[in-house]
Point group: D3
Chain length 225, copies 6
């Protein structure tokens, strides 16, 4: 799946998003529809390769999900195994991720437009929460220990935070889409390319324009690789 995947990878880097999970990918109409990495044709999801050319490695990845990852500026790293990583996931409505948290690190507030997320803690502790939609905007939060399981409903803003200043944490999360997508709130609002007008944001967030300008000048790093 190496170099011939370049067109796909490029497309993936752009609008096809990152990691969120939702309950309703369309149903398959054959046993599987493995991504044809060489096709120039783009559809909702991906076109399939000839089933005669499908091999077991289309359903496999030596993802090294057992290995710790470097974390970024906000102290986290999401290693997502979605349809861009395993071509056999196309049409099948699921993906999997390992998330590393540095001490005091977080996977900052974000939404998954196309997936619910279910998470279990492998190492350390995590303080997690999500916020319901308008008009309530109720915040539900919980401290999770090793072995605990938590659910983040599709489309709602949520985060995970490692409250331990000395020890890292690790989680495995599953998402209900082959391509859940992720929208990190700070990055989308203050780090968009080009920037959103500071007039709009100043009024929306009830702050001075120069606060917005300062926020837009920061480097908003993506934590999904």
């Amino acid at each position: 799946m190496a170099s011939s995947f370049s067109f796909l990878a490029l497309a993936a880097l752009l609008a096809l998003a990152s990691w969120q999970a939702m309950a309703s990918d369309p149903s398959p109409l054959q046993d599987f529809c493995v991504v044809d990495e060489n096709s120039p044709v783009l559809v909702n999801g991906f076109v399939c390769k000839n089933p005669m050319d499908v091999k077991v490695d289309d359903f496999f990845k030596a993802a090294e999900l057992d290995k710790p990852r470097m974390t970024n500026k906000v102290g986290s790293n999401v290693t997502l195994i979605n349809v861009m990583q395993i071509a056999g996931l196309n049409t099948l409505g699921i993906s999997l991720a390992r998330i590393d948290y540095a001490p005091s690190g977080q996977n900052p507030p974000h939404t998954h437009p196309r997936a619910t997320e279910i998470l279990t803690v492998l190492e350390g502790t995590l303080y997690v929460g999500f916020v319901t939609s308008n008009p309530e905007n109720k915040f539900l939060s919980k401290m999770l220990n090793k072995g605990d399981v938590f659910v983040f409903p599709v489309g709602l803003i949520h985060f995970q935070f490692n409250p331990n200043p000395h020890k890292p944490a690790v989680a495995i999360a599953a998402l209900s889409s082959q391509n859940p997508g992720a929208i990190t709130i700070a990055n989308a609002v203050f780090g968009s390319k080009p920037p959103i007008s500071d007039d709009v944001l100043a009024k929306a967030f009830q702050v001075e324009k120069n606060t917005i300008d300062w926020l837009q000048a920061q480097f908003w790093e993506n934590n999904h690789y």
Copy 2:
């Protein structure tokens, strides 16, 4: 649909959200399934009343969508006609809204977790935009004139802003769910009940904790009625 609707209305005030649109409400299994306002049973969507009791007014509302509305602090007002307003919309996957914009008013950055939105300008001009998901966070924006039509894809952060400091603007928007939901970013992040820990938000937004505290002390008014 007046007073007997109180339980439903209460439920609606809570988690059932406001106005967002998504492409995949489940399909109907009969001609219609009009909300039974008296039923204590809650399901995905709503339970139906006896079809013998269905009358034409179950598909109707004297919504006065031709009348201007008072706008709120950020200068807008969304009058949403969804399944909570018209009981006959249950299982049918669509809703409609009138949006009023004060001079220089805006419908601030928000997402609809369950709907795509299509909008046309009835009066005035609107500067609109949406931001794609990670890692691109590409911002696409457009100035709209009277009669123009624009689409906001499901789940993406978007806004509408009236750039005219002297004249109001009006739009009609349709959303692809009976209950699209709306998550106003500022309200959900800084106005949740209870507030999200300022430790988490300070690091997520790369600002001082007292900036977060100040933001959380503001009044985050909902603009959907």
Copy 3:
């Protein structure tokens, strides 16, 4: 989207139908899947262009929905903004229309095989109705004034009629599919190409064959442009 859209337009003129709304277009598997107007490949919906080539105008149309339209022989005109008009609507499950009604004009009995319709009156008054399926065939009707909202459930026969012999009427309608389709009953039954056998129709409608022949000789004009 001009001339390169010709193949698509041609296809659209044929079987891809006009404007009806239904609750269950498939869900998107990426942020958006904008129609690739140059692709010779046809799928359920449309193939997507490279997301790198997507621009804001793919989600926009200067549709002039504020402008009155000429009406046809039965006194109406449906200006539908669906996926053939806005390429960005592909996979997103919604479309929008302006409907003009001449004095005493009507949008005659028709069904939308793939969409529910929600309508609001912008100008004038409309007498509207729909008929339930067998065996009841119950007719529900209502007089609508400016600002009122009404719902026509997916697949049911319905119409709108402007009862005012002196003044036109205008409505905005939204439909729950990117390509709702419309089947005008008179046109499909009496104006099909080639005509349905008059033996079949005479017995089906309990009239003489020459009545059917006369009906089939009329000009059945489409009111959707």
Copy 4:
């Protein structure tokens, strides 16, 4: 399933319709969800009985589909086995019918709002056809012999006609919904209760009002039992 089914049967007689087939009933979330005939609660589809009370007869009906049926005024009879006949069909998206045709009889022009239909001829010959949606309204027709198979796409107007004036015909049809619904065009347009205004219909069908009045005075018998 006899007398306790009375409430359900009553509901069924009203808006829940008859026999049409569509490609997208929602997916089951358990092995089966057999209709609870005693429940007063109505939902999209039906509520389920306790799985402990499910027995093999919930998936069975001694429907006598091998036996000829009396035909009605237009010379046909549709014996539909849908969720109202077999409680175990709930959530499973399919139904089955036997159709009897008298010599020169027909199953007159109708649509199935929620199902595609696939039909095979058991006895005799059938002349069948369907009409595409606007603006084409293309009529596709075929003479079918014993053993032939034909498909009527969801939502399109179609009919079957027995061209033999001396011999009956029989078909088995399957429909892609637990409750496909049927809208017989003549019955819905000219036989609705109450009647549609003759002003509206006269203009829609380009005939004199008294022709409409005459049509509305006919007896429009349902051919689905």
Copy 5:
């Protein structure tokens, strides 16, 4: 549809499977999407031909479902009319089959991963049954006579057996997918290519390895043509 269908046929012979039925094929986005037999592009389902080139025979097959078929080693023969047989079935979520049973013949235990099945007996008698999922594995069975109807829920293991040692039986079955797929348990477990390790199967079925070896040496014939 003859020779140009060869690529498609080849693909069909491989992973696209045979005949099972499920409730949730995606919904159509146009009147129909007839398989383009000449396209090299593979998608979930099939790409469509130009609607201008669609003709009535795309919805038709002279399938001779009235004619008896030769049966195989286990005494049955499934003649399935799915999207590979009728190109017009693409996106429409249904297929049809005739099943012949030799005296004492059976359609052995199998599942349909993508379809519910509804069956009616045309000739003879059938003993049928299905087994629920873990942990119950409840077996529900019934003796069916001519004209009876029975339902096999999607994904569950089921069979039909002709208990009459002297007379054949015939059934018509419909399945809720354009490509339901069939997994004959014995063939998939003991007749896979290459064979599953006898270590695994011996322990799974609690038998000696040489019993497994003996089973794997048998000829596991497919009964779907």
Copy 6:
């Protein structure tokens, strides 16, 4: 969720099955629809509790997925966290499992009628495989090491086997349904209650009746708790 959950638990023990994953649970129509454990009403999925009564623990379980489990006779144990374990999963289309494998243990051949499965190895090594549907019945297999990821497409027969005779193995698996269901082939075919006729099975599996009788006399233990 303790004792009041008894009715639900009972129902769950019966037909609602165990752990399989499929790509198309219906979409949510509100932020969440948490199971109402006290409701006597059963629907496709579950009815929801009043959103005012929803609390964070409805999305949480102290599942101790970090702790090793006792394995059964075939040497495995599936600890499934589905909608029966976390009430908040209702309508959200996903579940999670920890699987323990004894040395030389296996999770024997089974299907998930309603879910695709994605699995990662936490400890040890696993030999895994799945078989495609008829007529190919192609067996695809792979040896997995710690950190590897593998996908089992919805509805196909698959297994995992720990080839190490000295060391246990552990995996985390996610499934694309709130209630994926599991059908262990040996248990459903030879361990059903009541047993399937040995006449049928002997011919289906091409063995002597007494071999079937012997198999049916074994104890077929469920490995899902």
